[in-house]
Symmetry: C2
Subunit: 352 residues, 2 copies
Amino acid sequence: MTQLKNDSLIRALLRQPTTRTPVWMMRQAGRYLPEYRALRASAGDFMSLCSNPQLACEVTLQPLERFDLDAAILFSDILTIPDAMGLGLYFAEGEGPKFRKPLRTAKDVEALPVIDTSRDLNYVTDAVALIRRELNGRVPLIGFAGSPWTLATYMIEGQSSRDFARSKSWLYQKPELLHLLLEKLALSTIDYLNAQITNGAQVVQIFDTWGGALSGPAYREFSLAYMQKIVAGLITERDGLEIPVILFTKGGGAWLEDIADTRCHALGLDWTVDIGEARRRVGHRVALQGNMDPAVLRAGRGAIEAEVERILTSFGAGNGHVFNLGHGITPDVDPANAGIFIDAVHRYSLRD
Amino acid sequence: MTQLKNDSLIRALLRQPTTRTPVWMMRQAGRYLPEYRALRASAGDFMSLCSNPQLACEVTLQPLERFDLDAAILFSDILTIPDAMGLGLYFAEGEGPKFRKPLRTAKDVEALPVIDTSRDLNYVTDAVALIRRELNGRVPLIGFAGSPWTLATYMIEGQSSRDFARSKSWLYQKPELLHLLLEKLALSTIDYLNAQITNGAQVVQIFDTWGGALSGPAYREFSLAYMQKIVAGLITERDGLEIPVILFTKGGGAWLEDIADTRCHALGLDWTVDIGEARRRVGHRVALQGNMDPAVLRAGRGAIEAEVERILTSFGAGNGHVFNLGHGITPDVDPANAGIFIDAVHRYSLRD
């Protein structure tokens, strides 16, 4: 394998020294980029991009052509696994993801297969292999998956939800059924992420977008326990290099110690958490990734630079910080502002 | 004034002993009750109920006829103040609140009046006076208002929002303009809550529904500072009795110490916070109100009783707990489950 030319992401995730703080952005390949919108318009819908390795590779690399990013992240969606399980993912314009066959009964859950990535999701692993080849060691490639709880909410609700009425009803009324579902999702995700690692992903992130909607005990039992299971099931190194694992629970600021206890390498933080305070709580055990409010990218240079500086100062000196947004970049952001953000991180964090 | 027959809410908010933990529910007068839906169907829309003191009184008292609640809360809406400022509040069916004239420019903000409750919102104070009379000392009456930041988001967005694109653009790009708006809202809210107190509200709560969408520094500057200003401007006692103030920032678990520093009497907690942990952090200074996930009310008796017991146990022995949900009760809840919840709180918390 080609040697990494820029390994600052990996080094920061392993809490090793870097000359400057590495930075990438959740959803960095996406709708805020005109070149993405152009490609998507010609490809048709979102899933046509995800399921075509050449197009997924092209989209993944687009932001790296514009910005001095320290990582590439596979262009895909967390809902590929439920789709491969047979739920029929589609995207209704302006409404987000939906399933044609959401889970309704115990029979639906019992009938669900654990996925075999090499058979069911090879379009993803093909994309990973192709992107890794095309990157040619420029920056590391991040693979990812959704957390079992987050996937379960979409599978039970059939779509995005504000209050998780059905999935929380399962949680409180049919916990065994929800556990069966989460178990199948965890096993599928271990297979899926290991296949991404085998095909070239050098870091993996688990997106627990909806863990923060739970109470503490429910979070630990229904979300964190399954992420822990995944962490324990992952390939730990490849070509002699450790594969860092990042866990990101949006709204999970109350449970950082518990998340760090999974033996993941890094915690993703949303912007409601003070990164310095988070570091005092868990920083000796894990790296921290985050955490600027993506809304700041809608403002101008002054606000962006001030926020970057504030967050770097809050983290303080020392290793183990990967700069990122606290959630995905939004479609209305001017790409020039993303560039200002990335440059500010590099400039303000440069060590002598 | 009639002596309070059940003063356990007031006592708990002042951290005095009670024989059992008092309980009420956010949105306890609302759509989950068939008698509410019937009255609303005959009255027309939501604002017709709010703006008619007789109807607002009737709706406020409905849940007390069914359940052994320890408080009544004024039936109204947090957006009465922006409506009185001239923004034209209306409710589009199934879409939530909207404004006909959302704020767009600096001129719009400069032209906004600070409201005079006795002139602009006497339908609210008339309702408060009527409810207090009808309650006849049965339980205390809670008055309320929205936090300035929460009101500002609706006024700038024109409606509910998921990411607060416009209001956060103001925050980061035009902070002085946002401060001017927040200042006018804080002054209006002081007048509004003091008028509620003068007319009979025995407790007041400020609902900061969207403070949790901010970073720590932005929360302190744009939300908490104005709630602090309101707390400092409120009438502190009436008829020789202290008026407790409850501050509730949904998603504000990271900032409990800061909220307690405002010298409010109690903190409202959503369900993502462990109430025992919260008490260890701030319990010696303030009472705590919360914090069951309202989704548990969709489950059955077993789940409801288990959650009530867990939360009571987490709070532990001693004074200063008002039981509540971590957010409003949802319209799909079976009223029988609300009854199970309230009875469980009383039964499990009964002291010998």
